[in-house]
């Protein structure tokens, strides 16, 4: 079986990472999770820098780590390209020599290695920078050199650890779309670790949510973004996630309150309801209208986000609401202000828990 497959178990003190992982050739899988969830540990296990304490990993049909059988292929012999979060470019080498390091190490002659490195310099749009030292590069350039260095070694698996975290917001956009192209053209399996859901949606074919060492959700990035299974993902996406009991097109929420939902979509039982902040409207008086869900609450916090303002409203249920700055002034939104909320049933995303 080609690609990366297996179960990775790493125990370290009280922390246990235990995940089933499968990445096919040509597939990009994003591991999304909070700090300390075990994302980097998973990457280090995949490239051989941290040995497994249990489970078994296979890469292109070869067992690379199996503690029970006492098999451990070290990083040097694993042919796994890694783009580290801090890039880890060799400061004493030029860009070309950095990229040529992999081919040199795996037996290519000096001339051949430099020729292949020069190809990558051109392909990554680094023309004219080949002789520069890493310390003279911008963040985006260094990121591309790190990517080129990993890919020039012709890896059987590509790993990226928070590839965009070290960049400022402006360059991140450019680099992300560039990175997307390069990942598309890589034929092997790619595993990338991030805490930014946008990375997962833009770069990955599939997303795996890792929390406290376990996988809590996985699937198509858009599906995960639409129907988060845990509060962590919901919060990342800015969604309000509510749990409850569905029956006859109504959901009795665990935290109090009832929401009407599109009845044809959901069977009775435990469900999750994802509420987009932009789907909820705020009113000074009880609204007359077509919205089926109307309740009142008290403003708990007001925070500008981009050109919108996010308002936390405590009630049954407690939700996040996005409004325009104009609405904040019109409704005199401030902490402690009583407001009415409304949301259409069709705007709610309801799915089995």
């Amino acid at each position: 079986m080609s690609g990366l497959h297996g179960r990775a178990v790493v125990e370290r003190g009280a922390f246990v990472l235990d995940v089933e992982i499968a990445v096919d050739p040509g597939e990009v899988v994003a591991v999304l999770g909070p700090n300390g969830a075990g994302k980097s540990t998973l990457l280090r296990a995949a490239c051989g820098l941290t040995p497994l304490t249990g489970g078994r990993l296979e890469l292109d049909g070869r067992i690379v780590d199996d503690p029970e059988a006492d098999v451990l292929v070290p990083a040097t012999d694993r042919h796994v390209g890694v783009v580290f979060q801090d890039y880890r470019l060799f400061p004493h080498m030029s860009v070309v020599d950095n990229i040529a390091f992999g081919p040199r190490s795996t037996g290519a002659g000096r001339g051949e290695a430099r020729r292949r490195a020069a190809e990558w310099v051109a392909r990554l749009g680094l023309d004219g920078l080949g002789d520069r030292r890493p310390s003279t590069l911008s963040g985006g350039q260094a990121q591309r050199v790190a990517l080129g260095r990993a890919l020039a070694a012709d890896p059987a698996l590509l790993l990226l650890d928070e590839p965009l975290a070290a960049l400022d917001a402006e360059t991140r956009l450019d680099v992300r779309s560039g990175l997307r192209e390069h990942l598309r053209s890589f034929a092997g399996p790619t595993l990338l670790v991030t805490h930014d859901p946008l990375d997962a949606v833009v770069l990955a074919d599939r997303v795996v949510v890792l929390e406290d060492g376990r996988i809590t959700q996985q699937g198509d990035p858009w599906d995960v973004a639409r129907r988060p299974a845990t509060r962590y993902v919901a919060r990342l996406l800015g969604l309000t996630l509510l749990g409850g009991q569905a029956s006859d097109g109504e959901v009795a929420l665990d935290g109090g309150g009832v929401l009407h939902v599109p009845s044809e979509e959901i069977a009775d039982g435990d469900v999750l309801v994802a509420v987009r902040p932009s789907a909820v409207s705020l009113h000074a008086e009880r609204p007359e209208g077509s919205a089926r869900n109307v309740w009142n609450g008290v403003v708990d916090g007001v925070e500008p986000i981009g050109d919108r303002v996010r308002v936390a409203v405590r009630g049954a249920p407690t939700v996040m609401v996005d409004v325009t700055p104009g609405a904040v002034a019109d409704l005199q939104l401030a902490q402690g202000r009583e407001v009415w909320l409304s949301v259409k049933a069709t705007e709610l995303e309801v799915y089995p828990a």
């Binding site: 040097t76 890694v82 060799f90 400061p91 390091f101 992999g102 190490s105 990993a150 070694a153």
Partner: protein, 270 residues
């Protein structure tokens, strides 16, 4: 008031200025004395005397030899201390530091008890191989290595620990074996510290006196290095002692020049 304070930043108050000036004078005056009283007229004659020449040659040969030995033995130890998570590492570091703070004459006594003809190891060297280290040129090298190698180990170990292994990890994921990682990544990155440590070690070996005279004695042409020749000269021909001292001072200045980027840059860290 504000003017007084502004002036205070350029001219220190007298409780600082007076002792500080005294300190400068105290450090500078002996060097001035050496330069003023040096028998400049006899300089060439003394420098080219058989005693001086043989001491100079012996110092250069033994200094170079002990530096080479310190490199071959010390760099691997520095690497091991910096990288392994073994227990007792702090004990090892303390052990390495002992020769730095130990009076060299005590080091000489310790060397005698270890490598002397009746010493813990020395008796077997003599019985089995007929090798006697004390009062021999190799004995001079042994004394110098004992006293000087810690400078190299401490300097290189600090640099290696500063490297913290992240670049080496990156190199290994690119398929580089351990030796290749060491040669192409580790070594070039610690090169400045390695050079500094080497120069420092050579300078310390060149100036070695206490351990040498205790362990190797003071035999002209065999164990009488420059510092020992200075000491002998004081008893016979003081002019010779002064000229040879000038020579050692010149070497010290050269070392300082070689390490200027490391030590003389303001605010520079090692």
């Amino acid at each position: 008031m504000s003017r007084a304070r502004g002036r205070a930043t350029t001219a220190p108050p007298w409780p600082v200025a007076v002792p500080a000036t005294l300190a400068v004078l105290f450090l500078a005056l002996p060097l001035v004395g050496l330069l003023v009283r040096a028998p400049w007229g006899r300089l060439w004659e003394v420098l080219t005397s058989p005693t001086s020449l043989s001491a100079l040659r012996l110092s250069l040969v033994t200094g170079a030899a002990s530096t080479a030995i310190a490199l071959v033995l010390g760099v691997p130890l520095a690497w091991w201390m910096a990288r392994s998570a073994m227990r007792g590492r702090s004990f090892l570091r303390a052990l390495v530091t002992v020769p730095l703070v130990l009076p060299p004459v005590v080091g000489g006594i310790a060397l005698l008890l270890a490598f002397g003809r009746r010493g813990v190891v020395g008796q077997y060297l003599w019985d089995w191989f007929g090798v006697q280290l004390p009062f021999s040129t190799p004995g001079v090298v042994v004394a110098q290595v004992f006293v000087a190698m810690p400078f190299l180990i401490i300097t290189v170990e600090g640099a290696l620990r500063g490297l913290d292994g992240r670049l080496e990890e990156a190199a290994s994921t690119l398929g580089a074996g351990r030796l290749q990682v060491f040669r192409q990544v580790t070594l070039p990155l610690v090169a400045p510290s390695l050079i500094a440590g080497t120069v420092l070690t050579f300078a310390r070996a060149l100036g070695e006196f206490g351990a040498t005279i205790t362990f190797a004695g003071n035999l002209e042409g065999v164990t009488q290095t420059l510092p020992l020749a200075v000491y002998t000269g004081l008893e016979g021909d003081p002019a010779e002692a002064v000229v040879l001292s000038l020579l050692l001072l010149a070497v010290s200045v050269l070392v300082l020049v070689a390490l200027r980027d490391r030590w003389l840059r303001t605010g520079a860290s090692a």
